[in-house]
């Protein structure tokens, strides 16, 4: 623990959490909503990064975790009358376990096939939920606003949710760090570089991949639960919005895949860009187009992303931050 406190990353993440928590002063609702979205982006991107950046596996359907987490949480609360905290946690655990079993299955697939399977996961889960009557089918589930009462009424509840989401964002960043600096993370990085060689050297590749898949599901699922509780409503089209999935990929690549702070930096830059695009009349409808062009440029010309560029200029920075 004492060694941990001497690492710069610890304080940088702590400072980021504090900045997020204190910036709205407990009353600036507009700023809070913007930061909340940024926090969700960071949560999604930095967990995606565990698969995409470390193990080199594209997960086109990472939004499934978020959406399913939301569904579990809302359903636990609405139908079984659980409180928010147990419901969100149980949602996270349920999705994580599902991802683990599922991962053991589909992660036997490698490279391209895995990526294709993840596209299918999103389509199939969405089709399943749309037809699943206990979860409201295509109309979704509404929550009664009375459920906000235990948290001190709707206005206070929204603040609480925001603070919890910021905490989850911090946890995501710490998770990124610990995974990267553990034996497990080393194994993932080795898989990312050459899966055959890694397997020969004794990395249990299928098990590690399934664990990474499962670990990267937990926090987004909890975040999904909180996010949809905030709106007191969930329906398939919102829960499995492919746009959020793709944005998470763009953000991760923009910031620098495989780095710890890349996803956070990418989320910040993307959020700024998006805010600017939404206000400009011409570009409001072309958000996906801009995201696509951005991704194409990164992939073609700067596969390391922003952090990759920084680290190449200042190799010392990498030693300090990672």
């Amino acid at each position: 623990m004492a060694r941990l406190l001497r690492r710069p990353f610890f304080w940088i993440i702590a400072a980021a959490i504090l900045a997020f928590a204190l910036a709205p002063h407990g009353k600036d609702v507009e700023l809070r909503e913007g930061l909340l979205l940024a926090a969700v982006y960071i949560i999604l991107a930095s967990n995606l990064n565990i698969m995409l950046g470390y193990a080199g596996y594209v997960n086109f359907g990472s939004i499934v975790f978020f959406g399913l987490g939301g569904y579990f949480c809302i359903w636990f609360m609405g139908a079984l009358h659980w409180g928010l905290v147990p419901a969100a946690l149980a949602g996270g655990v349920a999705v994580s376990v599902a991802a683990l079993f599922f991962g053991l299955g589909i992660l036997r697939l490698r490279g391209i096939h895995f990526a294709l399977a993840t596209i299918g996961v999103n389509e199939a889960v969405q089709a399943f939920v749309t037809n699943f009557e206990p979860w409201g089918g295509s109309t979704g589930i509404y929550l009664s606003t009375e459920l906000f009462q235990p948290l001190g009424g709707p206005a206070q509840a929204l603040w609480t949710i925001y603070y919890v989401l910021v905490a989850i964002m911090g946890l995501s960043l710490y998770l990124s760090y610990f995974v990267k600096n553990s034996k497990f993370g080393m194994g993932l990085l080795a898989i990312g570089q050459n899966e055959d060689a890694a397997a020969v050297l004794g990395v249990p590749a299928p098990r590690y991949k399934a664990l990474a898949y499962s670990a990267s599901a937990f926090l987004p699922a909890i975040a999904g639960g909180l996010y949809f509780f905030k709106g007191a409503f969930i329906q398939p089209a919102d829960a499995f919005d492919l746009q959020l999935s793709t944005e998470a990929i763009v953000i991760t690549m923009l910031g620098g895949s495989g780095t710890i702070f890349g996803p956070a930096l990418g989320a910040y830059v993307y959020e700024e860009l998006r805010g600017w695009l939404l206000t400009s009349q011409t570009f409001a409808n072309f958000q996906l187009v801009v995201a696509g062009v951005l991704l194409l440029l990164i992939v073609q010309f700067a596969p390391g992303g922003l952090m990759g560029l920084f680290y190449r200029r200042l190799p010392r920075l990498k030693r300090i931050l990672e």
Binding site: Y57, H113, G120, F128
Partner: protein
């Protein structure tokens, strides 16, 4: 049920586009769905603007698709050849985003359809819609043309040589880059023309491409990667399956079943179901 065979032939055609690019270039073309939709809208716009019959619009769509494919190769794929699959996936994925983004900005996500009236064909108790028969016939024609091209022309032989071993092909003087661009053009042209045919069968939206792209992947893994004939057979099998399943369950479930099939086949028969048969024969 036999109707499923007719529709399935079109799925097979769509999958041929993906399997050709996959087999030759080792790149999975994630713009496939968007290109299918582009074909749909190509027919829709041509019919709307000129009043020409829908089937007359297939030829311009095919040619436009070919050039779109070559453009796609130079814009997104050329720099990704020989890189890890992650990069080419992301590159084609980003082009897909751009196309879908443009499509939704221009047309929104409402339903469109192309009106075609063809007399149906009655066989005993069953009646086959004329559009389905026409689509299957045209599919057979296009598939036949592709077969002739790949097996009877110099350029087609070059394409197969590059698919087999790119470096060896380069050594014997085949201009591999041009062949890669050519096959990308062909693959996208197939996607567009199958989209155009689908547009005469079912209503569609800008976002329909995802479902057909998934079907194409399922067909591709069933038929084996880089195997156009296998793709056609597997496409018909998938259409048959859909035809068999629809009386028993809502249509929206078919996607779930197809996906499960996809994963199971990938795990159990990585070379495609047809490869099992071929291996037996080789023994």
């Amino acid at each position: 049920m036999l109707d499923g065979v007719l529709v399935g032939a079109v799925y097979g055609l769509a999958a041929m586009g993906i399997t050709l690019i996959w087999g030759v270039m080792d790149v999975v073309n994630l713009t496939h769905g968007a290109m299918i939709v582009a074909g749909m809208f190509g027919v829709f716009l041509l019919v709307g603007a000129t009043g020409m019959p829908a089937y007359g619009a297939l030829a311009p769509v095919l040619v436009a698709g070919f050039f779109a494919g070559i453009a796609l190769y130079w814009i997104a794929i050329h720099r990704m050849i020989g890189q890890p699959p992650l990069m080419s996936l992301l590159a084609t994925f980003s082009v897909n985003l751009v196309l879908i983004g443009l499509g939704t900005a221009v047309w929104g996500t409402v339903l469109f359809n192309v009106q075609v009236s063809l007399p149906g064909l009655s066989l005993g108790r069953y009646t086959f819609p004329g559009t389905h028969i026409m689509a299957a016939v045209l599919t057979a024609v296009i598939a036949g043309a592709l077969y002739l091209f790949l097996y009877r022309t110099r350029a087609g032989k070059a394409v197969r040589a590059v698919a087999g071993n790119r470096e060896a092909a380069e050594l014997v003087g085949i201009p591999t880059t041009r062949i890669l661009a050519l096959s990308c053009g062909l693959g996208v042209a197939l996607a567009c023309v199958s989209g155009a045919l689908i547009a005469t069968l079912f209503p569609f939206t800008v976002l329909s491409g995802d479902a057909y792209q998934l079907k194409s992947f399922v067909v591709t893994v069933l038929g084996g990667m880089g195997n156009p004939t296998g793709a056609l057979i597997a496409g018909i099998a998938l259409g048959l399956l859909e035809g068999l399943a629809t009386p028993f369950m809502p249509v929206s479930w078919t996607l779930v079943i197809e996906f499960v099939l996809f994963v199971v086949v990938l795990i159990a028969f990585p070379g495609g179901l047809l490869s099992v048969r071929l291996r037996r024969r080789a023994r």
